[in-house]
Symmetry: C2
Subunit: 201 residues, 2 copies
């Protein structure tokens, strides 16, 4: 399988971590989208939507959309621990609910920053209630997707964890569970975060 | 199962059609959100996100997010025809790809009208290529969700089908396959469309 990605793309990072963590055999191919490499005719043949991440399976079958890819991989590789996307229908529905919510919450609001604040507050107050991770006491793909989005927001230089101790604890837990791949996937992001960090008074 | 919905909510309509079409036993309960009925403390107990659609299963278990609900129902009711959300992993991935795309496409763009135009063009040129429905020659939940969104746009009074014959044919096909429930679900929408229709010159 070929995996096309870029570490500045949040869903790319989520899949990157997921693939490495679960030893899924894949050829990792960077598409330099800040340089416009996703806009070539060549890449259009790989993904008609001209976005990363996307995959091409060994027989040439193509798929885009990070969460559609996650579901496909869960069905294909039975060796992946079940908790990433549970097979129990209600546990799975709880993960599905988050995976939909994270989109829908951006849907009716405009302005990226406002969206992120709203979502971060939702994570803190609506999802992280009495559980170690977003949907249960075990990590699922919902946590990986959410943490990678939080990183996107951290690039603004704001301290998102101020007054949100529960969010901070969860974030550390996700990192701990997915490292060293989490840090590996965020090497570019972390450089930008360090550069933009506002000095503490 | 209790199904909370309102016919002005596009994902509510999609589930309404799906439930009726497949004879899924449910108590249909309207939540008059234009009147603010979703903002009561009572409804917050039913859905912490205070949105429709949502369900409460017979034992009190709750779920929101239309597409998470669709997936849950597909797992629960084995009598539902497979093509609505296929069990074959690649056919399913193709439907998943659409169900993600319809969110993601609204993600990085602001302005509802612009979003809808972009999405409608995407339906026409990227999805409806050489197939009767969006993901295969059979109807899936992707088609129902997409048609219900098109209806939302029709309320502006614009003729969305002008110069898009393929889209028009697909739309008629979805209606035909899902009626009488399609028209039943769109009874409020159709009144608004008629009222707002721009006279042809």
């Amino acid at each position: 399988m070929k995996f096309y990605y870029h570490l500045l793309s949040q869903p790319s990072r989520a899949l990157y971590i997921f693939l490495k963590l679960n030893n899924i055999p894949a050829e990792f191919i960077t598409i330099n989208f800040p340089n416009g490499d996703h806009l070539t005719d060549e890449f259009k043949e790989i993904n008609r939507f001209q976005k990363v991440p996307c995959i091409v399976d060994d027989d040439g079958w193509k798929l885009s959309e990070s969460i559609a890819i996650l579901r496909y991989l869960m069905s294909k590789y039975k060796s992946i621990p079940d908790h990433f996307y549970p097979s129990d229908i209600r546990a799975r529905a709880a993960v599905d609910e988050y995976l939909e919510w994270q989109h829908i919450n951006t849907r009716f609001s405009c302005g990226v920053y406002f969206q992120l604040r709203k979502k971060i507050d939702g994570l803190d107050t609506l999802w992280l209630r009495g559980k170690k991770f977003l949907c249960s006491d075990e990590i699922s793909f919902a946590d990986i997707i959410a943490a990678c989005e939080i990183e996107q927001a951290r690039m603004t230089g704001d301290d998102l964890f101020e007054n949100r101790p529960k969010l901070k604890e969860w974030y550390e837990r996700v990192k701990e569970t997915t490292n060293p791949y989490y840090d590996e996937a965020h090497v570019i992001v972390n450089k930008i975060v360090t550069k933009n960090q506002k000095p503490k008074l």
